[in-house]
Symmetry: C5
Subunit: 359 residues, 5 copies
């Protein structure tokens, strides 16, 4: 089950905007630089600031990926080196941001939320800065869905190496969005399984599972919905840092985000509908149980009463002395039972309301 | 039941945009060319690229229909011949697209989703490219609802042969939309049948069926809703490839798409309302069952108690020796039973709450 | 119960647009011409085409009303005489249209849906064409709510005779809209009756009736909602066939359509709320039944057990020989019963949860 | 309970627009004129037309208030005197109008709906005309919430006497809107009471009351919602009859109308939520009842069976002759009962699920 | 539980706009002035009007905070000193305002609603006026979430001291919005607790608590939603009193408000979903209870009947004299019981439908 609540502010309430405060569960940062142009590519693990500057100068595009946000100093120095907006930097360390994009005078700042196959609906914030010759990405934790992008850069497949940082930023955003599809597919498969199960053998645990699924989908929607808007801002705003060709690709990412929303909403409606199926199954089962009880009770209670009558100890109960009194009594009981059974059979209780092949 | 989940990507996650990857369940392609002008028409099964070029030059309009997407090479070569946008081509083979229309510099690309009478809510993607002198259509599987369009072309009925490719594209889109009506009618007929059945003889299987219908309608809505928007894009954008007269016809198709949405929404609301009817029927039936049990139990339990009292073996139970003790006891039992029956009759339990002619 | 499904297409699927095909349940047409100006009026039943032309020339305004759509030839010839758009004519015979208005170069085409007091939620399509000097109306079946308009024309009351065809068209649309009010009032009265009934004596048939009402209101909404939009198109579009004064009157009709929607929505919400009342009533009744059963069972089952104990045939059961054993046993039973009754009385079961004056 | 249905038309269906027809339950009119300027004020009960003209000439502003709409003649003559639009006059006598504002060439026409503290959700139509030097108000029935406005005029408090008719019209509209607050507060108080009651002692009558409240709030919403739009029209339209300063005040009235909508919606959602609380309470109570029944039945039914076994009359039942047969039998019964009680205790049925302090 | 109803008007209904009337539960005012510029800051508790004027002249920015609204005179005099709009002043004392912002010729008026950690969903109105050199804030009650802002002013941290009153106003609004996060976090934590509890041990009190939470969230939404709009007005309107830099910061506050709405809506949907889980748990538990009852009754009622038969006192019941009559009878009973148990076991009633680890 995804966590519902995230502590919002690392910084103490009332701190001035632009104050960076480390979040208690931040991990130590790991830097990775990938600098490339059309013809060559250089990859450096854990570069220092001087190394970063050198890489930036030597190549057309520098992608600096920072994983872990525990080192405020480092982030601030990076902010100075790349001239990043302090308000945006605050958003980087306060990892509760809704996805959004903001244009500043010399760079664009975008926030996306990333899922991973094994983390379900728990999303991780990735903050992106990109300017004329760099992309800076900040992630909360190690592990991401960007390995394929790195591979493409290394192997020089496609047009990635020939394009500017805006195209790299698009590629990262698209990879993050694509990362939602397998997660949603898993939810879809579970919903399909639950559909069959709720119909075949309704069970309380299914409802609990449906609740958790609906809640996770709600959290995923909260992450996906504003990404749609975020991409739209990148497409619409006439920023010099986004080329018109990249805008075309972003339209494709926008379509994918809408598709995600579509899937999330469809799944939520199906899950809600399943609850109704469950309740009606329970209601049908209760009816079935009560019918059985009623049939048994209605047939035997009068018979037991008759047996009780002839078990009374009155002295003058002439029928007790009759020769065929006992068989007659048993016969009467059979008649009563048969009459009642016939009554239930005519009501359709003895055959109806139970699917023949299931349960 | 329509499949809920479709594997989204044929291409591996992280592949560069524009990469075409064959989907695992794609079928081998079959080409069919129909080239025509006002006066003549030529139909070729399985033309090669040279043949396609020849047909395109010889006639005013060429309609090339590709059924089956397993041959990536062929699709790429067609893309080169007609100058199609690579991003659009990727959408052709990734058959999970929402309906949409995009204008490129020298052609228009549109995606629609097609149902067939016998496939229910499972939709098949049809991708359309049309430019100055051709319409290119890609379908996932053999079998479509376009045979009547082919017939109209062959028989020269109506204005179809005299118009350009935009009118043919409209005709195809309209045929696809018209294909939804019989499918929806079948759902409507089933809902009408279920309405009668839920009222007459509520049954758990009806709820399951209603759930499946609601879910299928949800999937149909997901296919229809963006088609409305797609047609709107074709009408609104001032593309040179859509004549103003065709725009008028597209308005008609737009009306049909809205009508489809109307029907889908109406059916979904009725199906949802039927669940309430079912639940209230079950609730009424349970009440009926419980009343019967309560009547029987309430009448016989005190009588059985009385019989039990006089069945006790105390030595000094004077009434047991009375001459009319036994008849008096039976009489008392009759009085008690009659009193209780009268109580239930006054409460209205013996007649009420059960429709006279049903169940 | 209104019919849920209407066969959509008279014409075979795939027929070219503009093909007129007679619907299977169309009735034979009856023509009625009403031609008038400020000073005179002429009324002709069943005019031929020549007569229509003569009337059109002799008077300021000609209203030709065609009831019954079985004669495609006639409709096509009328289309030629008045120069009507073929796409619009197709909509005339395909009587499944949503209300809409379309402006053509020399006339306006409007579709409305008409109810009649005795047909409930079943709507009939009326198609209107109006140009510079005529109004052409097509109805599906005999019987309409336009008789009062004819009367006003004949008696020269109000401004109707002095105005052009746009004002007559407005008058017809307004009469159609006004025709919904008595139908909705009937639903409103039934809902009020059901409100009282559901509270006083909840019954399964009420739920079925509520379902039918909700469904009919849904169908009525489907007819009314687009009429609003249709009138809006007439008001907004700067058509030369609608005078600015008529626009003012159309604003009034627009208000009425909104009022209708208001009423439909209010009724639907009340009907939905009533289902909740029904379910809670059933739930309360079930509780009441179960309480009665539980009281009876809980009081008598222990007593019957006691009687059973003293009815056992053990040889040495000393209390059976006691002199006051029997009265003591009866006394113990009374004490147990009184204690249990007191327990239920303190729980409030013996008085609570039942409205004092009802049921 | 507010009346759901209002007969819509006084005028017969199909009457020409602008026909005034008296509604069957209209009351005889009473006129009241209040004419004032900065320095003096004159108040006349029941003025005739001549007196009205004189007052209008002698003072800066004339407020003529007509209560009761039974006298069509009078209304028509007033319409002539003030030059009122005939369509608007028809709306005055057809007291089913939604609130709206319309601008005519020489006056503004506005319809509001008024509640009174003691009439609940039943609203009364007030029609307002205001031009350069007059305000004309038409009410359905005696009794209104405008007395405070009259007092303010008489006592010359505030700026009312120095302003034009637009400010008076604003004041009347604002007084009508303010009149909703106490009515809504009463509903709010009842909802708060019901909240406590449903939680403490759920009862079927509460559901019925909640239904009535929801329905009344629905009717109030229907009256308030279009008033918002109506005020907006007055603010937005650049009418010469509304000064820019009055527009500022109207913005305040607009805020109040939005606040009313806010409250209505909040109350409706809370009332809907309360139904869920009720149903879950009933469900919990039913569970409690059934548990009691099950405990009693499960403990005593086996015991009664045992007693029945030893009450059988077989000749050779050795245990019946044992010396301690009877105590042993009783002991066995105690053991069985204790075992079952222990089972229920471990299941938590003997203590759980019942709030300790309530019920 | 937050109070649902607030008496709306201090002023009597119908009082002229701009009349200030003290609300019955207003507290006596306490003034606090904080005047500052880049270099110095002066703080005065309870200044008089002359002191206020002096402070305003001596410093760049004056923040006058008035806590308690019981002294109408004081408020009016402050209004004169700062030239505040009388309609706005009326909104200050009528503490039922929705958050809003209005621009006047020489100042901006904004209303926000403030929560405090310990007051839950009860919001307090804070009214803000700010002009060229001052911020005036009015609060209803002592205690607020602004202490951190005061601290920042005193300690000269951040840019607060160097900026104008618009930045201070932004800081106050942002502090108020930030104040909602801990309150919502508390609700979120409670919902998480309830989620576990409803699944583990469903209980009626949880539903009541969920109702209260939903209702409080509704009230919070009512406070937060218009704040979003209010900030938007400040950003969008080209007021000279809001610098373009402050606008940038307000965008940040706007994001926070949207985030709050997001959280509120997510929580409400989860709480609603939990009610379904509760109901389905109750339904499952009822089924379980009824199954137990039915098993016990169905097994023992026939046995008891058999015992009753052989307890009858007919003279000629040959089996009673058989040698192995008694064991045979007992054997038959065992067979019947075993047969029924087997029947229930095959139905899956003896094991199914109960989560293994939870009750």
């Amino acid at each position: 089950m995804a966590k519902l609540i995230r502590k919002r502010r690392g910084s103490p309430a009332g701190a001035p905007p632009g104050t960076l405060t480390v979040s208690p569960d931040a991990v130590a940062p790991r830097l990775r630089a990938l600098a490339y142009g059309k013809d060559r590519i250089e990859e450096v693990e854990g570069p220092d600031l001087a190394g970063i500057k050198a890489l930036r100068e030597a190549h057309a595009v520098l992608w600096l990926d920072v994983t872990g946000l525990a080192d405020i100093d480092l982030i601030q120095r990076l902010g100075e080196v790349f001239g990043l907006n302090p308000l945006a930097l605050e958003d980087v360390v306060n990892v509760h941001q809704r996805p959004k994009a903001e244009e500043f005078s010399d760079h664009i700042f975008a926030v996306v939320r990333m899922v991973q196959a094994n983390t379900g609906a728990d999303t991780e914030q990735m903050s992106l800065f990109f300017g004329a010759d760099y992309v800076l990405s900040f992630q909360e934790r190690p592990g991401d869905c960007l390995e394929s992008v790195r591979e493409r850069l290394r192997r020089d497949r496609g047009r990635l190496r020939q394009q500017g940082p805006d195209y790299l930023a698009y590629t990262l955003i698209d990879a993050v969005i694509d990362g939602y599809f397998p997660v949603l597919e898993r939810y879809g498969e579970e919903i399909e399984r639950l559909e069959d199960a709720v119909i075949a053998t309704p069970d309380r645990r299914q409802v609990e599972r449906l609740h958790v699924i609906k809640r996770d989908l709600l959290l995923l929607r909260r992450a996906i919905w504003p990404m749609r808007e975020m991409i739209n801002v990148l497409i619409r705003d006439e920023s010099p840092f986004v080329s018109s060709q990249t805008r075309l690709y972003l339209r494709d990412a926008y379509d994918h985000a809408i598709q995600l929303m579509d899937i999330v909403e469809t799944y939520r409606e199906i899950a809600t509908g399943l609850l109704d199926v469950y309740l009606s199954s329970m209601s049908a089962k209760l009816n079935e149980v009560m019918k059985l009880l009623t049939i048994i009770a209605t047939i035997f209670i009068p018979l037991t009463f008759l047996a009780g009558v002839w078990g009374m100890n009155f002295e003058s109960m002439p029928e007790l002395g009759w020769r065929f009194g006992y068989p007659a009594a048993l016969g009467l009981m059979v008649v009563v039972a048969a009459g009642l059974a016939r009554y239930f059979w005519r009501k359709g209780w003895l055959s109806d309301d139970k699917p023949p092949t299931k349960n």
